[in-house]
């Protein structure tokens, strides 16, 4: 199946430590993705972005000097961009717009804007009932999810460390990765790293870097006349489960499962059809839960499944082939870069880290504290 919409351009802005503003990085991401597609700003009539300002998409439209017929600034953390793909596909199919740019950029490392405790507006229940306890946000939620998961299924921190170890192996093949050239990680490196919020150490946590990216979408029909091999949007799904630390009954069962099931059903595929998976690895546990949600293994079996090189370069189930948020780039709201890497894999542009013959890719974003979950299934146009 197909939605009739394709991704025709993809690019990163500068990554790492840039000393540039958000709007400069956004401009880089968008113009590079358009150039990749062989299009210009004059072709753009749809903008989806977040994390720019209170009026994110409006801000970009103003900054770029365009008057879009469709925008979306849904704030859903790192999964927003997978949600944007769904919304953009619908808007293009409905004729509200023809060319959509989905983008994100942040300078959080240069600007030192990341806070361990997070931000809660004073009028939401969490400000009265959660923030006074001094939990780390989002880290402590993922830590408790990891604790629940390990307890439930008898897994170990050593097994969970494989997520970070495999991500580093991929990053060593990606010259754009923040940890490129920094050597392999061992189990001892991960477990012996600074404990932050048990059972998660600093090495279980994603990077804090600048960076971002953009993708360009248009109808599949038009895509076939453009310069790149189109990447079809085959399916999508999402779940929104919680803002609080307490709403979800079982921390070991995230909303990701429903999002993935919907996406697979829409695309008419099963887990066995997935050649490469890009999932938001904000923390090692996030990726482990996503592997399970993607159906790559049965519930409770993720930590056994990933041992033995399964998800590393050359493994049977390549995961986070750019090195992920753990070793490549994590500008916060990382989800747009999942799409960029999935597109490049399906076009066969990934050099040393290319998954041979990849035809179906999944991008799965997670936002907040396992709050929002959105999946996109992409396919190489045959």
């Amino acid at each position: 199946m197909s939605t009739g919409v394709a991704i025709v351009g993809a690019a990163e802005c500068d990554l790492g430590v840039t000393d540039k503003s958000i709007l400069t990085l956004q401009s880089q991401a968008v113009t590079r993705a358009l150039a990749d597609a062989g299009l210009t700003l004059a072709d753009v009539d749809g903008i989806a972005t977040t994390g720019v300002s209170r009026f994110s998409a409006t801000q970009l439209a103003d900054y770029f000097g365009i008057v879009p017929t469709w925008t979306d600034s849904t704030f859903a953390g790192g999964s927003a961009f997978e949600m944007f793909v769904a919304r953009a596909a619908q808007a293009i199919a409905a004729g509200q717009c023809s060319t959509v740019v989905i983008s994100f950029a942040s300078n959080q490392r240069s600007a030192r804007s990341r806070k361990l405790g997070g931000v809660h507006e004073a009028w939401i229940p969490e400000a009265q009932f959660e923030e006074p306890y001094d939990m780390l946000y989002p880290l402590s939620y993922y830590a408790m999810a990891a604790q629940s998961y390990l307890h439930r299924y008898g897994g170990t921190r050593e097994q969970l460390a494989e997520i970070a170890i495999a991500a580093r192996e991929w990053a060593l093949l990606n010259p754009q990765a923040f940890r490129y050239g920094k050597g392999s990680l061992s189990v001892e490196d991960v477990l012996g790293s600074t404990m932050i919020s048990s059972p998660l150490t600093a090495a279980d946590c994603c990077l804090v870097t600048d960076g971002g990216g953009a993708v360009v979408l248009t109808s599949l029909e038009r895509a076939r006349d453009l310069r790149r091999r189109p990447v079809e949007v085959l399916g999508y799904g999402e779940r929104t489960t919680n803002t609080s630390f307490t709403a979800v009954t079982d921390l070991a069962v995230p909303g990701a499962r429903g999002a993935v099931q919907d996406a697979y059903a829409r695309a008419g595929i099963t887990a066995a059809d997935v050649d490469v998976a890009e999932v938001y690895d904000s923390f090692t546990i996030t990726a482990a839960l996503s592997v399970e949600a993607l159906g790559l293994c049965a519930p409770g079996e993720a930590l056994d499944f990933i041992q033995g090189g399964t998800i590393r370069p050359g493994g049977s189930h390549p995961l986070n082939t750019n090195g992920g948020g753990l070793s490549y780039c994590h500008p916060g709201q990382y989800g747009v870069l999942l799409l960029v890497e999935a597109v490049r894999q399906l076009r066969g542009e990934c050099g040393d880290r290319q998954v041979p013959g990849a035809e179906i890719a999944v991008a799965h974003g997670t936002g907040g504290i396992l709050s929002t979950h959105a999946t996109v299934v992409l396919g190489a146009d045959r």
Partner: protein, 139 residues
């Protein structure tokens, strides 16, 4: 814990906070459908009613649903380590809280706990949890 600037009660949380001044732990209960929920809201997530909610006393007992020991605090002046937990009350609702009164590293999932109180300067109190009295030795 942040004890000196916990946001003030609003119309939905006033009864909860008033009870804490007497060291009584309460949850919101719906007299129409029987649903219990926390934190307090303007409507019942069971039946949608805005007219049947009241704070009712709970036993103040529960179990640790999950926990994490914080080794790097969110603010420079926070003393570490300390233990954050989700506690599942005997009546069902889950609270975010701190576990106190025992070695921060010594907790386990499913450990029975009882409410204790951290008094706020404005007369209210924050519920925290300690090992249940009859479990202290095994903890």
């Amino acid at each position: 814990m942040i004890l000196d600037h916990v946001p003030g009660p609003d119309e939905n949380s006033a009864a909860f906070w008033a009870a804490t001044a007497e060291h009584r732990l309460t949850v919101q209960s719906c007299t129409s459908c029987g649903h219990v929920q926390h934190p307090p809201r303007a409507l019942c997530t069971g039946c949608g009613s805005m007219d049947h909610l009241a704070q009712v006393d709970v036993a103040g007992t529960g179990v640790v649903d999950s926990f994490t020991v914080i080794h790097r605090g969110p603010r420079p002046d926070v003393e570490v380590p300390y233990t954050i937990a989700r506690v599942r009350l005997s009546e069902g609702p889950v609270l975010l809280t701190q576990l106190v009164g025992a070695d921060p590293e010594g907790w386990s999932i499913d450990a029975p706990v009882s409410v204790a109180w951290a008094d706020l300067p404005d007369g209210r109190a924050l519920p925290v949890f300690t090992p249940s009295p009859d479990q202290t030795k095994e903890h």
